[in-house]
C-alpha cells in the first residue's frame, strides 16, 4: 500500500472512531437500539393555499390520556400564529393570520402507546353524573338519538330497555357490528345507515353512538390514527361508551370491544372533523409516522446530547420523512464497502458497479428469496423481449426505451397479479430502479451475444451473490441505529475504503488465474 493512502486512511478511521467513542463512552449514548415498544414519532403536514384574507387552519392535536403519552411536541409554520385551544376537552391547534399564497404547517410529536384494556365491571356501582349525561348522552344533529326511527328500532329490539347498562351495551354493539354491513360507498348518516342496514365506517360509528345515547348511555366517537410500520398512517374512528366510571373503547368496524390495540392514537373525541380552515382556497394534509427504536430517555440523550454543538448535529431532530430517507441513505456507505471488498479483494465482476447495492436496497421491504425471484422473472421477460427486438435491428437508444417500457409494464402486471393473488411480494417491483433493470437486461444480452452464456451467467451469479451479501446490512436494525445515531462512522468507512483502494496485494481472482504457478517446472523450455 502506498504511504499516503495508508496515512490518510488511518487519519480518517481515527477521527471517526474518536468521535464515535467519545459519544458512546463519554456522552453514554446508547449503542444498541433497545426497541421501545409502541413509541412513535408522528408528523401532521398541512399545505393550504390562502385567499389573501385573514383566516385560520385548525387541526386536532392528541392529548395524553389512557393508553397514550404525548410528548416532545413541536410545530413549525411560516408567517402564522400558533395557539392551542381546548374545546370540549380536545386540544385543537390553531394557526391563524393572513392566509396568502401557499402555507405549510408541520406539527410533530412523539407518542408512547400502550394497549388499553377495560375489564367490564360485574356490577354497576357508579352512575353517570348530570354533566356527563348532558355532554355525552343528549341528541345532536350528528347523533339524533331522539329520532322516531331510533325509538321504533329500540321498541322492536326490546319490550322494555334492560336495567343493566352492560346488557344494553353488548346487544347494541353486537347489532351494529354484525347486522349492519360495512360498505365503503355507504351512508355517513346514522339514520340512513339504520334503515338501509348498511353504511360506511363513519355511518356505523355514528349509529352506534346514537343508539347508545338513546338508551341513556353516555357515548362518543373518537377520531384517531392507525399506525402500521413501514406504511403511512391512516385516520380511523372508533366509539367509546361510559360505563361505571370508565370510557370503554370499541369498534363495530374493526371488531374490538373493551380492548384498544397499541397501534391506535386518539386525536379527538368531540367530533370526527380532521383539518378545518377558513379563508383558504385549497387544503391538503397527510400524516407521517416512524416507529422509534429507542426508549424515550435514550431518545432524549440522542436528540439533545450534553454537548451543545453536538446537539445541533443530531439527526433525530430532522423532520420524520427526512429521517426515514436518511436512515437508508446512511447505510449506503456500508454497501459500498462490501462492493469494494468483493471487487478488489476477490476480483469478481458484476453487472454495473453499484447495481447489487441498489437491488439489495429495493429488496429491503420483502423477503430476499421472493424479491430475487421477482427480479429474475422481470429480467427473463426483458431478455426474451430483447431477443425479439434484436430481429428488428433497432438503434440503441430507442431499443433501450422499448425495453424500459417492457420492464415498467411487467413490473406493473406483477403488482396487479400480486393484488389478485394477495401476494404482497409481487408488488415490490415498483420499488426497483427501472432504468437499472433495463441496463441490466441490455448488458446481460450483450454479454450473452459477445461472450456466450457462461460469462453472462457467471456475472449475473456474482451480481446476485454480492446483492445477497449486502442485503443483511439493509435489514439490520443494529446497523441502521449505529449509522443513523453515529453518522461519523461514515468517516471510518471512508478510511477503510481508502485502505482497500491502496491495497496492492493479489486478488482472489489473480490466484485462480495464475494457479499453474503453484506446480513446479511447467513447460518453460529455456
Amino acid at each position: 500500500m502506498n504511504r499516503t493512502a495508508g496515512l490518510v486512511g488511518l487519519l480518517l478511521v481515527l477521527i471517526g472512531l474518536a468521535l464515535f467513542l467519545w459519544k458512546a463512552v463519554v456522552l453514554e449514548l446508547p449503542l444498541v437500539a433497545t426497541d421501545a415498544e409502541g413509541l412513535w414519532r408522528i408528523e401532521l403536514e398541512i399545505t393550504a393555499r390562502g385567499t389573501g384574507r385573514r383566516g385560520s387552519i385548525r387541526a386536532p392535536l392528541p392529548s395524553t390520556g389512557r393508553g397514550q403519552v404525548v410528548f416532545d411536541e413541536r410545530s413549525a409554520s411560516d408567517r402564522l400564529l400558533f395557539t392551542i385551544r381546548t374545546e370540549d376537552g380536545d386540544r385543537i391547534g390553531v394557526w391563524s393570520g393572513r392566509l396568502a399564497g401557499v402555507h405549510q404547517v408541520v406539527h410533530g410529536f412523539r407518542v408512547q402507546l400502550a394497549e388499553v384494556t377495560t375489564p367490564l365491571p360485574s356490577r354497576i356501582t357508579r352512575l353517570p353524573s348530570r354533566e356527563l349525561l348532558a355532554r355525552w348522552a343528549g341528541p345532536s344533529r350528528e347523533f339524533p338519538s331522539d329520532a322516531a326511527e331510533v325509538k321504533a328500532f329500540l321498541a322492536g329490539l326490546w319490550p322494555t330497555v334492560p336495567e343493566n347498562p352492560l346488557d344494553c351495551l353488548r346487544t347494541l354493539f353486537g347489532f351494529v357490528a354484525d347486522e349492519i354491513s360495512t360498505v365503503p360507498s355507504g351512508s355517513d348518516d346514522a339514520l340512513l345507515t339504520l334503515s338501509a342496514r348498511e353504511g360506511s365506517a363513519v355511518g356505523k360509528s355514528r349509529l352506534l353512538v346514537t343508539v347508545l345515547r338513546a338508551v341513556g348511555l353516555p357515548a362518543r366517537s373518537v377520531l384517531g390514527l392507525q399506525l402500521v410500520e413501514g406504511q403511512p398512517p391512516f385516520t380511523t374512528q372508533w366509539v367509546e361508551a361510559w360505563v361505571d366510571g370508565d370510557w370503554i373503547p370499541m369498534s363495530p368496524i374493526d371488531g374490538f370491544f373493551a380492548t384498544r390495540a397499541a397501534n391506535l392514537v386518539a386525536l379527538r373525541t368531540g367530533s370526527l372533523a380532521e383539518v378545518e380552515t377558513t379563508a383558504v382556497a385549497a387544503v391538503g394534509h397527510r400524516y407521517h409516522a416512524l416507529r422509534e427504536r429507542l426508549r424515550p430517555e435514550e431518545l432524549a440523550a440522542m436528540m439533545i446530547p450534553t454537548s451543545p454543538w453536538l446537539a445541533s448535529f443530531s439527526l433525530y431532530q430532522l423532520p420524520v420523512s427526512t429521517q426515514a430517507a436518511l436512515r437508508v441513505l446512511l447505510l449506503m456507505p456500508l454497501g459500498a464497502l462490501v462492493i469494494a471488498l468483493f471487487r478488489n479483494g476477490f476480483g469478481v465482476s458484476t453487472f454495473g458497479t453499484f447495481m447489487p447495492v441498489l437491488i439489495a436496497l429495493a429488496l429491503r421491504q420483502v423477503a430476499l428469496a421472493a424479491g430475487l425471484m421477482l427480479v429474475a422473472a422481470v429480467l427473463l421477460l426483458g431478455i426474451l423481449g430483447r431477443l425479439v427486438l434484436e430481429r428488428m435491428h433497432l438503434l440503441l437508444v430507442p431499443r433501450l426505451g422499448v425495453l424500459l417500457c417492457a420492464v415498467v409494464l411487467s413490473v406493473t402486471s406483477f403488482a396487479l397479479l400480486g393484488r389478485e393473488a394477495e401476494v404482497r411480494e409481487l408488488s415490490v417491483g415498483v420499488l426497483f430502479p427501472m432504468v437499472i433493470l433495463t441496463m441490466l437486461i441490455e448488458r446481460f444480452s450483450v454479454t450473452l451475444a459477445e461472450e456466450g452464456l457462461r460469462p453472462a451467467l457467471v456475472r449475473a451469479g456474482w451480481s446476485v451473490v454480492v446483492a445477497v451479501a449486502v442485503y443483511p446490512i439493509f435489514h439490520s436494525e443494529i446497523a441502521e441505529h449505529l449509522m443513523f445515531g453515529f453518522p461519523e462512522l461514515v468517516i471510518v468507512v471512508m478510511g477503510l475504503l481508502i485502505w482497500i483502494g491502496g491495497y496492492t496485494g493479489y486478488r482472489f481472482s489473480d490466484l485462480i488465474r495464475f494457479r499453474a504457478f503453484a506446480k513446479p517446472g511447467g513447460g518453460a523450455a529455456s
Binding site: 478488489n344 476480483g347 440503441l396 459477445e450 489473480d510 513447460g523 518453460a524
Partner: protein, 319 residues
C-alpha cells in the same frame, strides 16, 4: 498459501498492483484517448511512419453508414470495427463474397443490411467502453503468416508486447482456436504463448490457464515455433508506444503475410495473462527497468536493454 508464496517468488503482478503502481502512475488519464480510439492510434502511427493495416472507410454518424457500406461493394475481405471497442467486442470479420452478400468468418451469411445494422449499433455506442457514441470503420483483412498458419485456426494471431517506459519487457502471441471462433482472446479459448524477446521463439504456452505443448485443434507442436520478423515486431511496438507518451502499454502487432509486422492497436490497461503465458512474473522486469533505464537511450538501445532484462529475469527463475 503455497500458491501465494510461489506468486510472490516469481514476482507475478496482480490487478491491484498493476493499477496502483503502473497504469495509474505511468499512464496519465489525458493520454488515454489516443489509445482508446483506434482511429486516433492509426493516425498517430501513420504520421510516424509505422506500418498499420490499411483503412478502407469510416462512418462517424448514422447518415454516413450507407455510404461506408456502399464503398465495400467491390471488396470480398475486410474487417468492420468500433473505434472504441474493448476485448475484441463488436469486430466483424468478412472473409468472402457471395453475390450481393458476404460470408463472415465462421460461415454466417451477411447482407448489406446486416452490415449497416452492425455499423449503426457500433455508432450508437453498443460496444464502446462507456457506451458513448462511437465511430465505425472498415480496415483491410490481415492474412496469417504461413509460419504461424499451422498453429492458428480460423483467425489471425497477434503478438502482444508489454512496453514499460519505452522498454519492451515481455511478449506473447495469442493463437486463435476453433473454440475461440478465430478470435485472439484468451478468455474465449485462444492459446497464450510466451515469446522469448531475444529470439522470437515460443517458450511456453497456456490454454485456459493450464500449460500445453501442442495446438488442441491439429496437435501440432506450439513450443519452439519462431514468430517471423520478430525484431521488427519489437521495433514497431516500441516506436508506436513512443508516440503515445504512455509509460505502461500493451502493443498488439500482427505479422501479415504480405505487409509484414503492422501495429493493430495499443492498450493502456494491458491484461496480466501474459505472465501465465510466459510462466514468469512481470514485477522483476518492471523493477529492473526503473533501475537501469537511461533517458537518452536510442530505440535500438532500449530494445537491447529489454532483451537483456528479460534474459536476466529468465535465468534467475528457479528451474
Amino acid at each position: 498459501m503455497k500458491l501465494l508464496s510461489a506468486l510472490r517468488r516469481e514476482g507475478v503482478l496482480g490487478i491491484n498492483r498493476r493499477n496502483h503502481e503502473f497504469t495509474l502512475r505511468w499512464n496519465p488519464r489525458r493520454l488515454y484517448p489516443t489509445v482508446d480510439d483506434k482511429l486516433a492510434t492509426k493516425k498517430l502511427c501513420q504520421a510516424a511512419g509505422i506500418p498499420i493495416p490499411g483503412l478502407i472507410a469510416v462512418a462517424r454518424r448514422q447518415v454516413e453508414v450507407r455510404e461506408m457500406i456502399g464503398q465495400l461493394a467491390d471488396l470480398s475481405q475486410f474487417v468492420l470495427k468500433p473505434a472504441h471497442g474493448a476485448m475484441g467486442n463488436g469486430i466483424l470479420v468478412v472473409r468472402a463474397r457471395e453475390g450481393d452478400a458476404w460470408r463472415r468468418a465462421g460461415g454466417k451469411r451477411l447482407t448489406p443490411e446486416d452490415l449497416r445494422y452492425h455499423a449503426a449499433s457500433i455508432i450508437s455506442g453498443l460496444y464502446a467502453l462507456g457506451g458513448q457514441p462511437d465511430v465505425a470503420f472498415v480496415e483491410e483483412l490481415l492474412e496469417v503468416h504461413p509460419q504461424l498458419a499451422e498453429i492458428s485456426s480460423d483467425g489471425v494471431p497477434d503478438v502482444r508486447v508489454i512496453v514499460h517506459r519505452g522498454i519492451p519487457i515481455m511478449s506473447m502471441t495469442r493463437l486463435p482456436t476453433h473454440r475461440s471462433r478465430g478470435r485472439a482472446n484468451l478468455h474465449q479459448g485462444a492459446i497464450g504463448a510466451g515469446v522469448d524477446l531475444a529470439t522470437g521463439r515460443i517458450l511456453h504456452a497456456v490454454l485456459d490457464g493450464a500449460p500445453i505443448t501442442r495446438h488442441p485443434d491439429n496437435d501440432r507442436p506450439v513450443l519452439g515455433v519462431v514468430v517471423p520478423s520478430f525484431p521488427r515486431v519489437l521495433e514497431i511496438a516500441v516506436a508506436a508506444t513512443d508516440q503515445t507518451g504512455l509509460g505502461y502499454v500493451g502493443a498488439d502487432v500482427v505479422v501479415d503475410a504480405r505487409k509484414g509486422p503492422v501495429v493493430l492497436e495499443l492498450n493502456a490497461r494491458p491484461g496480466l495473462a501474459i505472465q501465465a503465458a510466459n510462466r514468469a512474473g512481470l514485477l522483476p522486469r518492471l523493477r529492473a527497468v526503473s533501475e537501469r533505464i537511461r533517458p537518452e537511450a536510442t530505440l535500438a538501445e532500449r530494445i537491447a536493454l529489454g532483451i537483456e532484462i528479460s534474459r536476466t529475469a529468465r535465468s534467475m527463475e528457479p528451474a
